[in-house]
């Protein structure tokens, strides 16, 4: 019962999506029209940790919480890439994760999108040139959008996903 009293006291704590997060997002290619019409209101995301330090994961986990609440946009995480529409990739791709990342991409049905989260995913970040790193994410699988930051904030990640599916149209978004 204490639980329900606490629930009642806390109430709904979801914050509206801030517009400032969009400046960390870079679109690599135009959104496929079919993908936009299919994924506009419901998107299944499979998160892949390709050797990340887990800083980005900590921020991504915040997305499922009450404050950022990605579910209100119809986004949800799934366990299997077969169920997924989008891969959310973090980390400089380490040597051990290069093949699994490629296998995950191949296991995802079409149409699919890839969003690379964090500086490591974009250009290996602080780990660039390391003996354990195989390359950035776009050297392994094609990427549709980048979210910069080390780590990026949950708002920026959320903006990145929504821009990638064309849900939020930001005219000022950088194109790669």
């Amino acid at each position: 019962m204490k639980l329900f009293r606490k629930i009642q006291r806390t109430g709904i704590v979801t914050e509206p999506l801030a517009a400032e997060g969009a400046d960390a997002v870079t679109l690599a290619r135009e959104i496929d029209r079919r993908a936009r019409s299919l994924f506009g209101r419901a998107l299944a995301i499979r998160q892949v940790d390709a050797g990340s330090c887990n800083g980005c994961e900590t921020e991504i986990v915040g997305l499922t919480g009450p404050v950022y609440d990605m579910e209100r946009f119809g986004l949800h995480f799934v366990a299997s890439p077969r169920h997924a529409d989008m891969l959310l990739v973090t980390g400089p791709v380490t040597r051990n994760m290069a093949v699994p990342l490629r296998m995950t991409y191949d296991a995802t049905p079409d149409p699919k999108l890839v969003v690379a989260v964090g500086d490591c995913a974009r250009d290996c970040g602080v780990f660039a040139g390391s003996y354990a790193v195989a390359g950035s994410v776009d050297s392994i699988i094609p990427v549709d959008a980048y979210v910069e930051g080390c780590p990026p904030e949950p708002t920026q990640i959320l903006q990145g996903i929504l821009i990638a599916i064309g849900r939020v149209d930001r005219a000022g978004v950088r194109r790669a």
């Binding site: 639980l3 329900f4 629930i7 806390t10 109430g11 709904i12 704590v13 979801t14 299919l38 994924f39 209101r41 419901a42 998107l43 299944a44 919480g65 009450p66 609440d69 579910e71 209100r72 946009f73 119809g74 949800h76 995480f77 799934v78 366990a79 299997s80 077969r82 169920h83 529409d85 191949d106 296991a107 995802t108 049905p109 079409d110 149409p111």
Partner: protein, 313 residues
């Protein structure tokens, strides 16, 4: 002819309502977690999206993998056609009773388990093994719950049971009815894979029961299986509501009575959905090897219900 149309209409109603029931439970859970959550209609959007997706099929899979979703939806719809939704005058009673319904649900589970074993993945086998175990252990509870209802109402046919309790409210008074309801609810939670037996939104494969079997499915196959799971939950909830708390149901096929019955079942589904959401917020998932203890508890409740029905006859 009218009877066939009525049966088709009821079945269609259950099929169409199923994603809304799932969405409603998720919505209430989201609000209880302090989030805005997606709307009640989100599962419809997810189904539409999933139907439109492409598929990737494992090369180790055979025709069983491709046939299983259709077998599952066929068995689930056949089971749904037996459920009295709006009226206790149930023409489908001529085709089957509660045992047939349980067997049809088991048939769906059978093919889903085969579909999980087919690609030859470890998690598929694990899900199949666990799901069949849980399904097998809920059978005695369902059988004794049927017996309890049959002892008081004199029949195992679903419409007749609902009509008897409706017509003789005295049947619902007494510990037997309430105990059987509790046992049925636990069996329902086990059969549909809800907390505390199985978490429908988990990502940890080693904790999955139902989800592990469908990890390999994609596209329309996945959509059919998810929809069938929703129909299964909706039909079991409708059964729980209409067998044990049938007031509001029509007793004939006349239009105004049926409309009233429709409103009644929507209200009852709302209440049961709320209960399910609150329960899932309150309890944690049971360890897999604790689930048989929970099922043994539901079996004991059912046996007590049957015993008390004997003595109050």
């Amino acid at each position: 002819m009218r009877a066939i149309l009525f049966i088709a209409g009821q079945t269609l109603l259950l099929a169409v309502l199923a994603p809304a029931v799932i969405g409603y439970v998720r919505f209430v859970k989201a609000r209880l977690q302090g989030r805005r959550g997606a709307g009640v209609c989100q599962p419809y959007r997810e189904l539409r999206k999933t139907f439109g997706k492409g598929m990737v099929i494992a090369e180790s899979a055979s025709w069983i993998f491709r046939a299983a979703p259709f077998a599952v939806i066929g068995a689930t719809i056949a089971a749904a056609s037996l459920v009295p939704v709006v009226s206790a005058s149930q023409p489908a009673d001529r085709a089957g009773d509660l045992f047939v319904l349980a067997a049809l649900l088991m048939l769906g589970t059978f093919f889903l388990a085969l579909g999980g074993l087919d690609p030859g993945t470890a998690f598929g086998g694990m899900g199949s093994s666990r799901e069949m175990t849980v399904a097998a252990l809920t059978e005695p509870t369902l059988a004794i719950a049927v017996l309890t209802l049959a002892l008081t109402t004199g029949s195992t046919s679903l419409g007749v049971i609902a009509g008897s309790v409706l017509g003789t409210p005295a049947y619902a008074v007494g510990p037997g009815h309430a105990l059987a309801f509790a046992a049925f609810l636990i069996a329902m939670i086990a059969e549909t894979g809800r907390l505390p037996v199985d978490n429908p939104s988990t990502h940890l494969e080693l904790t999955m029961i139902h989800e592990a079997m469908i990890l390999e499915y994609s596209g329309p196959y996945l959509a059919l299986i998810e929809w069938a799971a929703g129909i299964r939950l909706t039909l079991l909830m409708t059964l729980a509501a209409n067998l044990f708390v049938p007031w509001g149901m029509a007793t004939s096929l006349a239009a105004p009575a049926v409309a009233a019955g429709l409103v009644a079942i929507l209200v009852k589904l709302g209440v049961l959905g709320l209960f399910l959401a609150v329960l899932e917020t309150r309890v944690a998932k049971l360890r897999l090897f604790r689930v048989p203890e929970l099922l043994a508890l539901s079996f004991t409740l059912a046996l007590l219900a049957a015993a008390s029905s004997f003595f109050t006859r």
